[in-house]
Subunit: 341 residues, 2 copies
DNA sequence: TTGTACGCGTTATCAC
DNA sequence: GTGATAACGCGTACAA
């Protein structure tokens, strides 16, 4: 077996409790014994056992990460690695580890979260999404377990710490940008309607049209999953409209979907931005590598992750920490997929 | 606090050990008491405490995931989410959780691994890469700690369980494919030379040329990090050659880099595949979305992850499990970035 | 078939 | 300042 605190104690001729205090750097231990104990630890190659510490402490220094049930789709989106990197950096700064729930569907994930939480595996949880009805959220709230959400809560906005963009405003800005280029036939291709981010971006789109006195047409509003394939399907649907009714600009709720859109348009012989402008969201790494390079609303994905873990840790370490709404800036990055109407 | 085994015991009028046995589904407990205890557990909403269990068991049911030190780069590559999904599914099938080391550089990651391992946080470790000199590998081997590697070990190939493609053969196949199209001026753009995968793919490239009696030119061999930017730099370098010395085909060791290549070629007015063929590796999701769609060697990334966790768990659960070399199939997927010379 | 008692490696609360 | 001792929640010999 591994070398324990007791071994160190014997070796240094002190009590186990003293060793424990040295590890915690307790000020009431004399420098002399500290030295002696540290030497012993080094000599024996001692490393603290986190499991035992967790049991005594009732704290694990681990954050749980919860993906949406459709994790295969979620993983594929470049959003995920970027937000993960932010989470990782934020966690690392406070010496927290990251643990993921495994499972491919809602049921698996739900059970995974319960195991994590009840099993005491994690000190807190990050929800990497926001859904309209979410029993995981309900569960965490009921147990008053520390968690933060990336995205805007569907309800109880003031009782949930969350890190989000102002997606309503971002989408309104984006739509206004297209309007300012002279487009009036403006379609919206959104993601899963269960996701709050879709809802918010749709609202922003509608609001912008409304303020510009442009009637909202239901056949200009499409919903697909956040995937390449979704972009294709949506385009095909729009292009079945009679020529004079086709939109001249598309607002696409996700870059990956936009990539599918571009691809499909290309194979249909429709050129971007001459025939059709495309503006999307997220500004992931390959946006600028698309053909043509994608204009996209940068939502600072990394920051979303970073602040999420920072605030979660705050809530863990101070249970009375007030709920916060953290808004990350967005910015329209103009490239070559958008042009004058 | 949470409801414990003792609470259940009291409620069901049995001893704590009986409850424990019911959880383990010990056959020596009568069906009647099992029912009684299970009813009590349900009634009280009992969930086992993993931490306590881990301490008693000396096992955590957690797998550790180790990324290369340059994790920011690694995360960005679509390879990562895909392999992660495979790992996740494999782990989930055996009820294992996944934990990641956090940290942005070699030093952080190294310390993170030591903490994970010595701290007893994980039962085993997956190395998601293979480097030429790797002290993490050395450490794990010295401690005889269960681990598997994704990729080919630089040394001790027969003493390390690993899941890999035959990258030598894959690269040779790929080069031969280009040769069969009539290309003779064939360049290789590889990744980080510290990575074994780069080394293997370079070897395969060289071997194919050698067998075709084509001399190897050092200025046709470039190395960049696995990133979009790397593709750009490499192309610029090659295009500085006099026209008649320029390669007519590129073998690129990574799709992401190939995307950068395509992009740069486009802006230089060089058309693919008419002027130059491009063949890359990995066949990640967006390969077919590139312009033109990328011909790529599919290496079954998902399978790499899936088998890695499966075999790691085998090693954990049976410490005498022999070392294995698991080879995942590869296949050239021809799209529009390759053509006759 | 079930109960008792101890150990897993720490931390924390007392004493001294 | 430092040393016993009791938790933390569970698994498991050993008894009964």
């Amino acid at each position: 077996m591994s070398v324990t605190i007791k071994d160190v104690a014997k070796f240094a001729n002190v009590a186990p409790s003293t060793v424990s205090r040295v590890i915690a750097n307790n000020p009431r231990i004399s420098d002399k014994t500290k030295e002696k104990v540290r030497a012993a630890m080094k000599e024996l190659g001692y490393h603290p056992n986190f499991i035992a510490r967790s049991l005594a402490n009732q704290s694990t220094q681990v954050l749980g990460l919860v993906t949406p049930g459709s994790s295969d789709v979620f993983f594929q989106n470049p959003f995920f690695p970027t937000v993960l990197r932010g989470l990782s950096v934020g966690a690392h700064e406070k010496q927290y580890a990251l643990q993921m729930v495994t499972g491919q569907n809602d049921e698996d994930i739900y059970n995974g979260v319960i195991q994590m939480v009840q099993g005491g595996r994690v000190d807190g949880v990050v929800l990497l999404y926001s859904k309209v009805e979410d029993r995981i959220l309900t569960y965490l709230r009921e147990r008053n377990f520390p968690f933060v959400m990336i995205g805007k809560p569907y309800s109880f906005v003031n009782e949930i710490t969350h890190v989000d963009n102002n997606n309503f405003q971002a989408s309104k800005d984006a739509a206004n940008f297209l309007l300012s280029l002279g487009h009036t036939r403006l379609a919206f291709i959104g993601g899963d309607v269960d996701l709050v981010v879709t809802v918010e971006r749709l609202k922003g789109y509608k609001k912008a049209l409304e303020e510009a006195d442009i009637p909202i047409r239901q056949n200009y509003i499409l919903h697909q999953s956040f995937l390449l394939e979704g972009g294709r399907t949506a385009v095909c649907e729009l292009m079945e409209l009679p020529l004079h009714e086709r939109p001249t600009a598309l607002l696409v709720a996700d870059d990956l979907m936009a990539l599918g859109v571009l691809n499909t348009l290309n194979s249909l012989g429709i050129s971007v931005p001459e025939d059709l402008s495309v503006l999307s969201f997220n500004n992931v790494l390959f946006s600028e590598m698309a053909r043509p390079p994608l204009s996209s609303v940068d939502i600072n994905i990394y920051e979303l992750g970073y602040h999420a873990s920072k605030h979660l840790i705050k809530r863990i370490e101070n249970h009375d920490e007030p709920f916060k709404r953290v808004i990350i800036e967005h910015k329209i990055v103009t490239r070559q997929s958008t042009g004058q109407a």
